[in-house]
Amino acid sequence: MTLLTRWEPFRSLGREMARMQEEIDRLFDHWGVTAEAGPALAVSYPPVNIWEDDDFVYAEAELPGLKLEDLKINATGEDQLTIKGERKSAAPEKVEWHRQERGFGKFERGLVLPAGIDPAKVEARLENGVLTVKMAKSAAAKPRKITVKAV
């Protein structure tokens, strides 16, 4: 079972197929890795959205049930971000299961950012299960505004 938060049945079919293919690819990657790394590792978790503006790069992920202390967020290199953690089940041990759709276990996600960032200027917030990482772009990565003087 993957750790995904939700099904997305309403997305357009083509996109959904592409996503499924991706999921399958990841699953196979996952199995490739599992033999050495242990059974709980899910490579594709969490799904991440990344965007940028002139000064910042933003990464957002849905991580319900986790606290900021449970996460290790690292900016490595100029344009890489890793999110590491473990989601633990809160269910008691001896119960009769009706459904188990939510996944648990360790995860790690490495991401390549669209621009270089300053690792000293990274802010992370986790609110209602949504993680937002705001990273200031490095001086070299910011678009330069060129003032044109009238001669």
Partner: protein
Amino acid sequence: MAEATTAAVKKEAGEIAPVESTRGGIYYTPRVDIYETADELVLQCDVPGVRPEDINLRFEKGELSLYGKVQSRQQPAEYQQDEYGIGDFYRAFSVGTEVNAEKIAAEYAMGVLTIHLPKAERARPRRIAVKAG
């Protein structure tokens, strides 16, 4: 009258229209764990991005429905990487076990909603002592 006929025709054709929400629009189906203990049914539900005050939870005629409104958050015109969509959550369950509707309780923490449905007294398991004959 015309509507009733249509409904009847549809039933004959084996097409049963799914139950639709009055609000319309697109919903995401939250992932749910459900387990049962001797005293209660427990649902745990991932609803990231929903504030506790924006959860509408109802139990009516044996059906438990959950609607979670997601606060709009900073959404850019263009993503560099786009792996999930953002939108409200909706899901409903028909609860087979007899539950004590008065005592249903729910709590929310860190994007996870936990709902406790205590079993009705007569639905609880009883241990029956077997006497040696």
